[in-house]
Symmetry: C2
Subunit: 251 residues, 2 copies
Amino acid sequence: MRKSNKKVNAAIIIIGNEILSGRTQDVNVVTISKWLNEMGVNLEEVRIIPDNEYSIIKNVNELKRKFNYVFTTGGIGPTHDDITAKSISKAFNLTYGYHTKAYKILEKYYGKAKFNIGRKKMSKMPIKASLILNPTSGAPGFIVGNVYCLPGVPSILKSMLGGLKYKIKGGKKIFSKSISIRTVESEIAQPLEKINRNFKKVDIGSYPFFKLGKIGVSIVIRSSDKKEIDVCYKEIVDFLKKEKINIIENK
Amino acid sequence: MRKSNKKVNAAIIIIGNEILSGRTQDVNVVTISKWLNEMGVNLEEVRIIPDNEYSIIKNVNELKRKFNYVFTTGGIGPTHDDITAKSISKAFNLTYGYHTKAYKILEKYYGKAKFNIGRKKMSKMPIKASLILNPTSGAPGFIVGNVYCLPGVPSILKSMLGGLKYKIKGGKKIFSKSISIRTVESEIAQPLEKINRNFKKVDIGSYPFFKLGKIGVSIVIRSSDKKEIDVCYKEIVDFLKKEKINIIENK
């Protein structure tokens, strides 16, 4: 992974009827977002769309122009409802067919005798795409332009991110600090707004939580400027102490 | 809830930096989607966007034209980063201010003495909006046009859906059946594709899973036509029996 001083952003397109129908809980957004944070890439939008060629093409074309990186998850398996690779080929106007290297990887993985049509399909993609290697289950993901296509199965996706890291050019890293307190949001809204006005380079978020029957608020401070976070953090802690608000945890 | 025979669709806009940053796992998509399914409303798109006025206005305006219903979650609390109500007012070109009924509800909920500026802010919204009552924590959501604004806290959101049901005009209900089998997707890809071609009104999805160290595939059949599901289901089960593929569970 190389680094720049610019802001670098990304979007995710989750392709999957099973997520939209509520059958499956997506967990890939959290995984990819945290991985991007580490590299100084800011996730700025996520779209969940159906396994539908028109939707895939439209959303990929829209987001690839708007963001530095676009990650897709899902739809690159062997069955009839896996249409991501074909749709991405169309979005980029690229030839869709057997990718020589992917074909060889899968043929080796399954062995010639067991390399059936379904398995062969997993090597069909834009024929000039770069591959994202898959240490878990053989079938690679792929990259065309700034679009990175990953599988939907969380454990397989996770295993592929390690090898992908060096292909991402990160930007300024986003740091964060959080303070959990025993109060309700409406008790701290005014002073927090005042502090927020003084820190233009800092993003202050306030999130109510309910844990073991007790309520509280987490204040999260995020910025690419570590010093600003520290100054802002101190100001918030000072006001909490002054107001005698109980700090449960800070990290 | 009234019913029609038409297809009715919806989109969700999740407003929240905490979801994009990976700090918080969204669970509201599953909740809302399942609730919509029950009413015959098909969730067709989800967007996760930051707490940013421009993004909220742009996405709300885009999706409210495209879908029968749009649900937003998040950003209607008392703190400075809660900007959903103001942004939605701008998107609809409506006056933003204290909503008389919401103000009265919150004043009664907190009592005059404890009704501070932060709490009062939660009654600021498009002044002519309809309210979505909140049995858990007082602060109401609101409706303008076909856009329904709900809070981000999952337990509060859940508690508000019950009262909202009668305001949604549902369409044809989507039914589903699923079969879990002990095999890998690539073993069933070809026959499944063949069956899929024969059932135009049915959506067949295939999803690999890993449970307790064992792999398997769930085949999910969805359609608004219950009879077609039954015929398709039978055809799949017949082929599985013929191929001697072990069925673990069907429902």
